[in-house]
């Protein structure tokens, strides 16, 4: 509700209900009564009156906002989503409304659309207050996990690493992203909660900067769950930005446990690319692509490996495809700059380089392709 209150305040200040007091009509009367009902916390009555108001005047954006936000507050998520959709048609750049619609879609299981709306809301400033940002980033991370972007989710969870007492659901949520399990915490079986919470705890500890403590926790996990898929991958992923060598050792251990792990193969390939060992990279990238062709970044890593092993045409094709899928991926632009430069497309190469410099300024650290 705090989320709603903060968002609602700005809209209230510009409400036409005040202007209506001087020139009452049927619409104005309904609006005044709706506002009164809302002030008295009579939510069902307020919802009914706002519904009447937007029937009378469908192009009144604030009516749709109040209707949507009040419906959200009583868990009527589908009607709230619809009301906010009307609001957004009239006010397309309203970040809080996009974010709130995303939260409605989250509750009714429309995860893909929810992620788009939450991210759009954030990009339009819906997270400009710390509390709102945490709520939205948490949902974003859950949705990234649910839609298979586990690395993206882990980056978002870094925001919570400094929390003094992380709540149990957060630990499980981080564990789900870490173990690459596309579920919501509530969807996880009860007998798996302990494992996922322990993994989440170790990962958060690492993200909080306690690397020695995290190392101990991970070693305990490796001993207790030696056959657990993605556990070594997670530790490798965390280590990789500061210690790529040790990170890659963990990726290779992951491949001992789970030889078909495409994510681990991809990261070994990526490491080889960074080390200028393209032939090694190509072998791993091809295996990863064969295992999981729809994996995000698969085309990027394979494309880059092809480029660096001399197949500029094949590499460029894959990289351009990847760019359509993920237009703001810095690494894809870097690889394309190289591809164009190698093939004499000077202007295209320069355009890609300049794009990289723009993108790079918005990134804190590049930890993953």
């Amino acid at each position: 509700m705090a989320f709603l209150f903060m968002f609602g305040l700005a809209v209230l200040l510009s409400s036409p209900a005040r202007a209506a007091q001087d020139n009452p009509t049927k619409f104005d009367d309904v609006v005044l009564r709706a506002a009164a009902a809302r002030d008295q916390n009579d939510v069902p009555q307020a919802i009914e009156l706002y519904r009447q108001a937007v029937e009378l005047k469908p192009d009144w954006p604030d009516g749709w906002w109040f209707l949507g936000s009040l419906q959200y507050s009583i868990d009527a998520y589908a009607p709230a989503r619809d009301a906010l959709t009307h609001y957004l048609e009239l006010t397309p750049d309203a970040g809080p409304a996009a974010a709130l619609r995303g939260l409605c879609e989250f509750e009714i299981g429309e995860y893909s659309q929810s992620l788009k709306d939450v991210q759009r809301g954030l990009s339009l400033g819906a997270g400009n207050q710390s509390r709102n940002e945490k709520i939205l980033r948490y949902h974003e991370a859950l949705l990234l996990t649910r839609t298979g972007n586990f690395e993206g989710a882990l980056q978002k969870y870094a925001l919570f690493a400094q929390d003094k007492v992380p709540n149990p659901e957060l630990l499980v949520a981080v564990g789900l992203a870490g173990l690459r399990t596309p579920l919501m915490p509530k969807e996880l079986k009860a007998d798996q909660q302990e494992l996922y919470a322990a993994v989440g705890k170790a990962a958060l500890r690492y993200l909080a900067g306690d690397r020695d403590g995290a190392q101990q926790e991970f070693q305990q996990l490796f001993q207790r769950y030696p056959a657990q898929a993605n556990l070594h991958y997670l530790y490798g992923y965390l280590l990789f930005p500061t210690d790529p060598d040790q990170g890659t050792v963990e990726f290779k251990k992951e491949l001992d446990v789970a030889p078909a792990n495409a994510a681990a193969q991809m990261m070994v390939a990526w490491d080889a690319l960074i080390r200028n060992a393209p032939a090694e990279a190509l072998a791993y990238a091809q295996k990863a692509m064969a295992e999981e062709p729809t994996m995000p970044i698969a085309q990027l890593v394979l494309g880059r490996a092809l480029l660096d092993t001399g197949d500029a045409k094949g590499g460029t094709e894959l990289l351009e495809k990847e760019l359509q899928h993920d237009p703001d991926n810095l690494e894809t632009h870097i690889a394309l700059a190289k591809a164009y430069s190698k093939t004499g497309r000077k202007e295209d190469a320069r355009r890609e380089r300049m794009r990289c410099l723009e993108l790079e300024k918005n990134e804190n650290a590049v930890v993953h392709p």
């Binding site: 810095l330 190289k338 430069s341 000077k346 990134e363």
Partner: protein
């Protein structure tokens, strides 16, 4: 003549086998023990005559081989609460720091750089970068570049910055030859400075094969790489364009990453040999400091006779638009278009390789 060359090579190989007894080394170490430049000199005299004395050839120096320390046997600086002394007696150099009450000292084992110089120290099995370095422009010591943000609170902290494993490998990997193998620091096989093998991987096999008259295993000719590829090759140490982007190096600090700066130039073309590192620099010789010596390189594109040579003709087929000639001058191009930029905190200037029209008051790009 051929017999003479082969017998000379054989002598050199035998001699190097005495110096570097491969027989006793494990197989991996044998494979990575390097070939002395003197062996290569038998055939590649022009490339090897000067190279060992270039800044790259002396990028890392061992005790007793460091002319800078011999010429400056006692260096002292006060920084905050601490006093640093770098004292050389004979072949031994000692790096000391004191707070007035206590002094700690370490032998200088490795000197990095020939102009500006930083020392690597070893303590309890860990490697440290000296917190002060020598700068020729001040003729003495000052804080090591990049360490200005460190405010030491103890004598131990004042001594130096502990290096992470990755950093250590990066330092030795670029300043020495055969210092890193299979991702591990292999100081037992390390040869100081950038030797032939550093860039021309496979020289040892080539040397042995050539004794049998087989020249097919010669390392690839780096001069045949495209401008893009040679930038990435040199960038392994001088930083590639992409590694600088990933590293988020903004402002004048990135002026020392020449491949990055060059690739940001409007005129950079990854397939045009006139704009490659090797078009202007021969790494086997000292870098040429006279601005005018680069004029012909610039005029190869920006002059009225730009399209006369065959190499240029093939390049111009890719880029048919003739670049503009400079309306101001035809000489000392780099003095305007590649200005010298001071490295923040570094007491040195670097030539900015982002070639451009520089206007007075313009901010440093990127």
């Amino acid at each position: 003549m051929r017999l003479y060359i082969l017998s000379s090579l054989l002598l050199v190989v035998l001699f190097s086998a005495m110096l570097f007894p491969a027989r006793g080394l494990p197989a991996q170490a044998q494979a990575r023990s390097s070939t002395p430049a003197s062996a290569c000199a038998n055939c590649h005299r022009a490339q090897t005559a000067d190279q060992p004395m270039t800044p790259m050839g002396r990028a890392l120096m061992l005790p007793g081989t460091n002319p800078l320390l011999k010429a400056n046997p006692k260096l002292t600086v006060h920084k905050g609460d601490y006093t640093y002394n770098v004292e050389t007696i004979g072949d031994k150099t000692t790096y000391s720091v004191t707070d007035g009450a206590r002094t700690i000292s370490f032998p200088v084992l490795w000197s990095f750089g020939t102009g500006g110089q930083t020392w690597m120290l070893e303590r309890d099995g860990e490697l440290y970068e000296s917190l002060v370095s020598y700068y020729p422009t001040v003729g003495g010591l000052d804080t090591t570049i990049g360490d200005e943000r460190i405010t030491p609170h103890t004598l131990d902290e004042a001594m130096g910055r502990k290096l992470a494993q990755g950093e250590t490998k990066a330092c030795f990997g670029c300043h020495a030859t055969n210092a890193v193998h299979d991702r591990k620091l292999t100081l037992e096989s390390m040869e100081p400075g950038v030797t032939c093998e550093h860039c021309h991987v496979g020289t040892k096999i080539h040397l042995l094969d050539s004794l049998q008259g087989d020249f097919t295993s010669a390392p690839p000719k780096l001069g045949k790489l495209s401008s893009e590829d040679i930038s990435n090759f040199c960038g392994q140490c001088h930083r590639t364009w992409e590694s600088v982007v990933r590293g988020h190096f903004h402002g004048e600090i990135n002026v020392r990453f020449q491949p990055y700066r060059l690739a940001n130039s409007k005129c950079f073309d990854g397939t045009d040999p006139r704009i490659s590192c090797l078009a202007c620099h021969d790494p086997h010789h000292d870098v040429v400091r006279e601005d005018s010596s680069y004029d012909s390189k610039c005029l190869a594109c920006h002059g009225s006779s730009a399209h006369s040579s065959s190499a240029v003709q093939s390049a111009s087929a890719i880029a048919p638009t003739e670049p503009k000639a400079c309306p101001v001058a035809k000489a000392n191009c780099v003095s305007c278009h590649m200005p010298k930029v001071s490295l923040p905190g570094g007491h040195m200037k670097f030539t900015d390789h982002e070639i451009r029209v520089v206007k007075p008051g313009d901010a440093y790009p990127n």
